[in-house]
Amino acid sequence: MIARVAELCFWLGRYLERAESTARVLQVTGTLALDAGLAPEQCWRPVLAVFGERLRFASRGASAAEDDGEQVQRFMVWDEDNPSSIQASVAAARENARAIREVVSIECWEVINELFLWMRGEEAKEEYAHHRYGFYRHVRRSVQLCLGLLRSTMLHDTPLDFIWTGVLLERAGQTARVLDVHHHAFSQLPSGHQVVETSLWLSLLRACSGFEPFMKRHQGRVTGNAVAAFLLFEQEFPRSLRYCLKSAHKYLIEFHPPGTQGLPGAETVALSTRLLERLQPTALSAPGATVHGLLTQVVEDTGALCDILAAEFFGAARALGSQAMAQ
């Protein structure tokens, strides 16, 4: 496929996933703030950290407002200059999809376009004001519908593979950052509040759509380390880091099958292989190993993987400069 189109596919996947992920994290945090007995800043400050947007938010002259859930949400939903905001992600996904209308299936395009038009219209503002939960649900369902349609209405061929690689790498990055920020924050809390602590770990799982899958694996035994291990390594959970990176790895091998010569993608595959080797369950049992240390490494490696992929497949000059990396 055309290199430029591959790049647009990849970013379409990333922006779609990002819109859904932002909506999910905000939705879960809103619910958490209602009943966890936490101070507002313990709920909302981590949200900004997860998306790496504390500085930008502060630059709005709103640092004191980090505690204010309404201001954080307005910034993460509507701010068009914030590349992680839902508005910006949906607009970017739609712009990419429009540029490759001949590639994206008509069903999928219509869902993206309708979501975009809805976000721009009065209906969404109304829903946001009066039924916040419904608003986030609308965004999430639209994106999920779209991701499902992609797989059920498009050829399972290189363009879809690039879209899906984008989804997976974005998803890996999101899970890593959500886990890192929350694991860090929650581990700092004074212990002894068994109920509060459990509900925090559960909210972390919900922020990654992992509550029920985790329960099925652990049958009610919730600990911080079990949650972290689940989100890091669970082979069968579609948002765990290992699952995402392993699935992305399969696509990368499709792009550059073993033993081929003259095709781009050799370095991408090599880096991806090293990354997976590092991401073994045993990685946490090494002396001095911490969840934070491992995650920092994985986030860095994932970022590097995206850069190499862009350089090898999309042409370095365009790819690295043309789309803002929100990491």
């Binding site: 496929m1 290199a3 430029r4 429009r98 540029a99 490759i100 209308r101 001949e102 395009w109 038009l117």
Partner: protein
């Protein structure tokens, strides 16, 4: 069927005096070919119609059937305004048009072959020679370059109007990159979706096979085996106002939509950059003007285009549709000579009328034009989209004075035509919530492969939405209608 007996949509409809209405006789009776669906449409109330019209517009917006609005920095897109009341063409009228359009396209193709070849007609007609070779649309560097497959006008969009007596007349030949066919097909999809029962009654010829015919036509001129040829659509990019159409064509033909930067030329062959390295391209349906195709050949200052493309074309290694240089045959002054071309190359009489045209490059005609400006429509030959025009009968004395001076300074740049009273078609006026007569034109699409021309049974009916307006261009606030060509009755 008398109108007054049927309540509903057309109750207040009055044919504008002195014009030909597409659907109603001057007496107010529905035309016979329109009767079959008349009752069903007429039986709807204005409220019901407003509802399905809104439904249609909503569907077009959701599907992103839009064009970009340049002036808006936020990249807003608008739907091309669309009226659900179709324009109907009877099978008899259509058969006549079809033959005329084929004849005209064939003659224009032969003219282009001649102009870029032996120049026989120019040798016999010195005044035509000056007009033809004098336009910037003539590309002398393509003299003696024979396009692969021998076809030059792969896709023509010939604008027709209907005068006050109902006679179809050619208004303009678009032989470069005629657009709008995607709206023909999208409008049809919407018509079928929101008024299936009416559509069913009307017995309409299909249009949805156009992309397949287009792909076949384009592959047929490939310099390689058509079965193993790569065909692409070349667009300037998503910011072009016709981007929707470019992606529509690529999508419905199942081929890749490329931008100039995706292509490069090596050893006079064209390649596309893919994730698996370069791949050879054989046929390019380009939707980019000649001037921006190849900086090496046309505009050294331009960063756009594919360097070396014209070399590959001249070497016969890639087919370009439409052929570069076609503009010389749809020049507004050359238009005046098309009936003579038909006689010269085909030894036939023209089957289609056109609009009488005064070519200001010719002294006598120029004198007549400057003396009768208030009766004429003056057009600048190198402007399109309704720009650079003087509508004489509606103009101010100052505007006429300005045009008089412009014509006398550069006569080659202008032609003039008597104003033709465009036919009208019942059209939904959303502001007033009722149906009113609005002027329409018609752009049929003609595909030409090595086997000869083929006319899509349908076309884009453009409509001047404002009361009294003659301007149907989308850039000037015009809209569109679905064109329903009726099947022959068996």
């Amino acid at each position: 069927m008398r109108r007054m007996l049927v309540p509903g949509l057309f109750d207040d409809y009055a044919v504008a005096p002195g014009t030909f209405d597409e659907l109603f006789e001057a007496s107010g009776t529905a035309r016979s070919h329109f009767l079959r669906m008349f009752a069903m449409l007429a039986g709807r109330s204005a409220e019901e119609f407003a509802r399905i019209q809104a439904l249609a517009e909503r569907a077009l917006l959701n599907q992103g059937v839009t064009f970009s609005v340049y002036s808006d920095s936020r990249g807003t897109e608008k739907i091309f305004p669309f009226c659900l009341i179709p324009r109907i063409v009877s099978s008899v009228d259509w058969m006549r048009l079809e033959r005329g359009l084929e004849q005209r396209t064939r003659a224009l193709g032969l003219f282009l072959d001649d102009v870029y070849g032996p120049q026989r007609m120019l040798a016999e007609r010195p005044e035509l020679r000056d007009i033809v070779l004098g336009t910037k649309l003539y590309l002398p560097q393509l003299r003696h370059v024979r396009p692969p497959g021998g076809v030059r006008i792969h896709v023509a969009g010939i604008d027709l109007i209907r005068d006050e007596r109902g006679t179809f007349r050619v208004l303009e030949d678009n032989l470069r990159t005629p657009s709008g066919v995607s709206y023909v097909m999208e409008n049809r999809i919407i018509s079928k979706r929101v008024m299936p029962e009416i559509f069913e009654q009307a017995r309409i010829r299909q249009v949805d096979h156009y992309p397949a015919r287009l792909a076949e036509t384009l592959r047929a001129v490939s310099p390689e085996d058509p079965e193993h040829s790569t065909l692409v659509v070349l667009t300037p990019g998503p910011y072009n106002s016709a981007y929707f159409e470019h992606s529509f064509l690529a999508r419905t033909m199942g081929v890749e939509l490329v931008q100039p930067a995706d292509l490069f030329v090596e050893r006079d062959q064209v390649f596309v950059r893919t994730t698996r390295g370069p791949r050879r391209v054989h046929v390019i349906y380009r939707r980019i003007d000649d001037a921006f195709l190849d900086p090496e050949a046309f505009r050294p200052d331009s960063l756009l285009g594919v360097r070396g493309l014209m070399r590959a074309y001249a070497a016969g290694n890639v087919a370009l549709a439409n052929a570069p240089g076609n503009g010389v045959a749809d020049d507004k002054a050359v238009y005046a000579f098309v009936p003579e071309m038909i006689r010269f190359y085909l030894s036939e009489e023209p089957l289609l009328e056109q609009v009488p045209t005064y070519v200001c490059a010719r002294r006598q005609e120029r004198d007549y034009v400057v003396d009768h400006l208030e009766q004429l429509v003056v057009k600048a030959v190198d402007e399109a989209g309704g720009y650079g025009m003087l509508m004489g009968p509606q103009s101010t004395p100052e505007a006429r004075e300005e045009f008089r001076a412009r014509i006398l300074a550069e006569p080659r740049k202008y032609v003039a035509q008597p104003r033709v009273e465009l036919s009208t078609c019942p059209t939904w006026d959303a502001g007033k919530g009722r149906v009113a007569p609005r002027r329409v034109d018609l752009r049929p699409y003609i595909l030409t492969g090595p086997q000869g021309p083929w006319v899509l049974p349908g076309g884009l009916s453009r409509v001047a939405l404002r009361e009294g307006s003659y301007v149907v261009n989308s850039s000037q606030g015009g809209g569109s209608k679905d064109t329903w060509v009726q099947r022959e009755v068996a």
